[in-house]
């Protein structure tokens, strides 16, 4: 064994407490990172189904919006431009619309209880759908897949009632078709209509996409690149398997949301892991000060000393990281169960199983943990080389010298600047954007304050001093002096408390503050006595309002717009928009008009929420180039802005304009006056009175909030472990002091009180900083949401997490400081 190995081994054996803390931090980090990676991978791998299958279609041409998302609707002349691409045999338009089969007065649900979708016959034919029985659809006839037909007890020739944007229609079932291999018919009901029928339904006249069939034997990749070359900007040729039109099924949305959630979790974890590993390892390295000082005095060079410290850290961290990732699979299983339990993941979400990719992910997680640990302790390693032997040998640790390195100050200040930038960039831009800004800013503020805590901790010492005073005059002053004397130690304990409190308070407070704003604004603007909302479908059919008197109902048509002047904020983002009829709306909805006149909302005009307008730099009276949902750009004049935009579309369009440019227009909601209380809603819709509707908007434990709660609790749990670690570690080199105190007549009780007061004091500093960071992020959000400067906090966790922090720190410090009965030697 080399001398150096022996030194490390001796250190580990002699002070197992120190290494234990580092060990726990590494194990947990590796396990959680690995679990996260495994889950994301398995969810992304989840087989996706396309209605086209892997049959005859070589490529699908779709419109690609500037933000890279696939948007339905292609220009009418596009098909003609593609027919002479070499090897292209046939180009067929693809069109789809929301269409439901009505059976026993209810809608036949799609998979995951979502709505169903019908598309055009020639597209199905081109994709290789084969008639099992019956004839191709003509006129209003309908075609179904065998499973759905069976389920409804229908055979070709039978009549069936459907509901679409234009109302109810009685249709004859003309055929039952079998999808090509790999098609989605097993998962989704297939509904097909004659081409002209689909084209005649309300909505944009443009086709959703073009299906390209190539001569047999040609290379699909080559065809797609030839198509791409011909298409130019704004369009893209993708493979048939990647084409998934229509509303995404709920389970897919859930999986997507879960992947987003896990990615956010991963980001927050990596940030906090760097911090937690950094503080734990730095404390460990600083406690080895005397040993390092002796080595330095014995003539070991700076570089060698740094390499030694780094090597030791790696030697401790690497095996633990490997051990940690072994626990990743069970952790992933536990997280998956929790996600399913809270309804974030569908119950049939794939489970983690052994695979080559899994092993690679675990290896990457272990490597990431080691790299994070080593990078995060770089400052301490650098300082180890600069160690002042005399100082360290005298003081017992090398802490005094390195408590406030300039690099750390600069890093902290830049993080703080980033946090401020996130808030400034979103200031006054509406609550939703500000919410994103607040999250980002807290994600920066938390590490910033952690990095800066050596400078901030002294500011809070009066608070800790007060607490110490409460703990009793005998040990109180000593505790306060200790806190002030060792900022690194204090910061190491305060950091995880700050992290836990700051992040949980912000993450849990944000949706509550927003929900509160949404509920408040909804209450203020809703004049209607009744509201009709979709039940079990993505939206209400346009025809839902057709039998209502025009002066007693207002509909909101769901669509999106893509503003063109977005260069200031990076890529363009589609803004949710609504089509409305301005003549009835003001009697049912009070939007709080800022300036302009909503009744002028006709032809080429639009109205916008104040925040949305600010965000895009729009002012009333001016015209702007705006891309509508089907890709057509129009020059629209802003005629009014309104204040109460939370929970409602940021842009309002005239109803006609919205319908004629939405590829598949549906209604978001239908507002009714009190005169209509006996009106029966169509299938797939629910009639709520005003109070019931508002109650559904009250801040509550929605699935979204459950997801945020899970993130918060994982982070908080992680921070608690590291808090216990550092609180224990901070006591492990205090035995000299405790010994001395016993010698001069300190009782065991006093010593325990001292240790607890110190741990609680440092933790309190972290908690206060955490609350400060959270408020810095949440207050602008609360103001933007119109609920005054005080954000809405989650009372349960805002109290529980700090209490958990305090007890974790106190318990761990007490355990670490436990000593034999007598003062001993």
């Amino acid at each position: 064994m080399s001398a150096r190995l022996r030194l490390t081994a001796a250190d580990v054996r002699l002070r197992p407490g120190r290494v234990l803390a580092v060990a726990v931090a590494c194990l947990v980090t590796a396990a959680v990172l690995g679990a996260n990676g495994l889950l994301i991978a398995v969810l992304l791998e989840r087989p996706k189904v396309s209605p086209l299958g892997s049959g005859e279609v070589t490529a699908v041409v779709v419109r690609e919006s500037d933000s890279g998302a696939v948007a339905p609707a292609v220009a009418p002349d596009l098909a003609a431009r593609l027919t002479d691409v070499p090897d292209v045999r046939r180009v067929v338009e693809f069109r789809g619309r929301t269409l439901s089969v009505v059976a026993d007065g209810a809608l036949v649900a799609g998979r995951d209880r979502a709505g169903t979708w019908a598309w055009n016959w020639s597209a199905a034919e081109a994709a290789g759908y084969r008639i099992e029985a019956g004839t191709p659809p003509a006129g209003t006839e309908l075609v179904l897949d065998p499973r759905t037909a069976d389920q409804l007890g229908l055979r070709p020739g039978d009549q069936v009632e459907t509901l679409d944007g234009s109302g109810r229609t009685s249709r004859r079932l003309s055929a039952v078709v079998v999808p090509p291999a790999g098609g989605s018919a097993d998962a989704e009901p297939t509904l097909l209509l004659a081409d002209d029928q689909v084209a005649r339904l309300p909505g944009s006249t443009r086709a959703d996409a073009l299906l390209v069939t190539a001569a047999s034997g040609s290379d699909p990749v080559r065809i797609r690149s030839a198509l791409d070359a011909r298409l130019g900007d704004g369009y893209r040729a993708i493979s048939a398997e990647d084409f998934r039109p229509g509303p995404a099924p709920t389970s897919e949305q859930q999986v997507e949301a879960s992947v987003n959630l896990l990615a956010l979790l991963l980001f927050v974890l990596v940030t906090s892991a760097a911090m937690v590993l950094g503080t734990t390892l730095s404390l460990w390295i600083s406690q080895r000060g005397p040993v390092l000082a002796v080595l330095r005095a014995l003539g070991v060079s700076r570089l060698r000393l740094r390499l030694l410290v780094l090597g030791d850290a790696a030697m401790v961290v690497a095996p633990l990281a490997v051990l940690g990732v072994l626990g990743a699979a069970p952790t992933a299983g536990a997280i998956r169960t929790a996600l399913i339990h809270t309804g974030i993941l569908p119950p049939d979400a794939p489970a983690v199983r052994a695979s080559g990719a899994g092993v690679a992910i675990l290896a990457a997680a272990a490597l990431l943990t080691v790299l994070l640990a080593l990078t995060a302790s770089a400052t301490a390693v650098r300082a180890a080389g600069r160690i002042d032997a005399a100082e360290a040998l005298r003081a017992g640790t090398s802490e005094a010298k390195r408590a406030r390195p300039v690099g750390r100050l600069l890093a902290g200040l830049s993080l703080l600047a980033l946090a401020a930038a996130a808030l400034v960039a979103t200031a006054g831009k509406g609550a939703v954007l500000l919410g994103a800004g607040a999250t980002a800013s807290v994600l920066f503020v938390v590490p910033a304050l952690t990095v800066l805590s050596p400078w901030l901790a002294p500011l809070f010492v009066p608070v800790a001093g007060l607490l110490a005073r409460l703990a009793g005059r005998d040990v109180g002053r000593l505790a306060a002096a200790n806190l002030r004397h060792s900022p690194l130690r204090t910061a190491a304990i305060a950091a995880p408390a700050l992290l836990a409190v700051g992040l949980t308070t912000t993450l849990l407070g944000m949706p509550r503050t927003l929900d509160e704003g949404v509920a408040r604004q909804a209450d203020q603007r809703l004049l209607a006595a009744q509201v009709v909302v979709p039940a079990g479908t993505a939206g209400l059919p346009l025809s839902a309002a057709e039998d209502l008197p025009a002066d007693q109902a207002a509909a909101m048509i769901t669509t999106t717009v893509l503003p063109h002047n977005e260069s200031r904020y990076g890529g363009p983002v589609a803004v949710p928009a609504a089509g409305i009829d301005p003549t009835v709306l003001p009697t049912l909805l009070d939007l709080g008009i800022n300036d302009g006149d909503l009744t002028a909302l006709t032809a080429d005009t639009f109205a916008a929420g104040t925040g949305t307008a600010k965000q895009h730099g729009w002012s009333t009276g001016n015209s702007y180039q705006i891309e509508l949902a089907d890709g057509q750009s129009r020059n629209l004049r802003l005629i009014a802005t309104y204040q109460r935009e939370l929970g409602i579309a940021g842009v309002l369009l005239p109803a006609e304009l919205a319908i004629s440019h939405a590829p598949d227009p549906t209604l978001d909601m239908l507002l009714l006056t009190d005169d209509q209380h006996t009106w029966q809603p169509p299938p797939g819709a629910r009639l709520l009175d005003r109070q019931t509707y508002l109650a559904t908007l009250q801040p509550r434990q929605t699935t979204d909030n459950a997801a945020i709660l899970i993130i918060s609790l994982v982070i908080a749990g992680y921070a608690l472990i590291s808090l216990a670690n550092t609180a224990g570690l901070a006591q492990s080199d205090r035995h000299h002091q405790r010994h001395a105190l016993r010698m001069i007549g300190g009782s065991r009780h006093q010593l325990r009180r001292l240790v607890i007061t110190e741990a609680v004091g440092a933790t309190t500093i972290g908690i206060l900083l955490g609350l400060l960071a959270a408020l810095a992020g949440l207050t602008p959000l609360a103001i933007a949401a119109g609920s005054g400067p005080l954000p809405e906090l989650d009372p349960r966790w805002t109290i529980t997490v700090p209490l958990l922090c305090l007890s974790a720190a106190a318990t761990s410090a007490t355990l670490a400081a436990r000593q034999p009965r007598g003062p001993g030697r």
Partner: protein, 246 residues
Amino acid sequence: MSTVSEVSPAVRLHQVTKVFGDPTAGTVALRAVTADFAAGSFTALMGPSGSGKSTLLMCAAGLTRPSSGVVQVADQRIDNASESALTRLRRDRISFVFQHFQLIDSLTALENVLLPARLAGRRVRSGDALELLDLVGLADRTGHRPAQLSGGQQQRVAIARALITRPTVLFADEPTGALDQSAGAEVLELLRGLCAARGTTVVMVTHDAAAAAAADRVLLLLDGVLVDELRSATVGEISDRVLVGR
């Protein structure tokens, strides 16, 4: 080998044996040691390394329980006293000074001196502490932290701290071991003066014959047994005995 004085001794050890580890096969550090330390006396404890000097001090101060035998401090048995009784004893009667400084890093010299009184819950008067710091010659260093003081200065702060509670007995384990000659002499002078001025009983372990010569009495320990006793001896006499003892 015991010293009998007219008044009852401040510290009395009777047949004290200390075995570390296994009672039958462990290290025997003290073998049936009997010794009395008269009130106001200054005793030096000498002997080769590993002979049991520190152990004897620990037992006498109630820091280590003897394996057998009786220890009395001011007529109170401490070998079987409760933990809280020992804590009270340390607050009221006994103080320690060690070779390695036992100061609290985060407190100034003055705060270090005041600490025992604070822990004991007594009304603290900084005047007393300042006086003691003046006594040990550190009147101008009261606001310094240990890291800003020299080794000798730290040791003197430790002595001042040991005195704030006006102890009846002061135990010192090689208090001059880490100090140069003149600093060591200062510390010895201080201890000597204490016995005279305050009637404090001082028991000091030392390897230095010159230091031992400052004491009224020198006890010589060899392999856990008290083998010799010298009274008011000179440096030369002490050196001779110690060499013979070895």
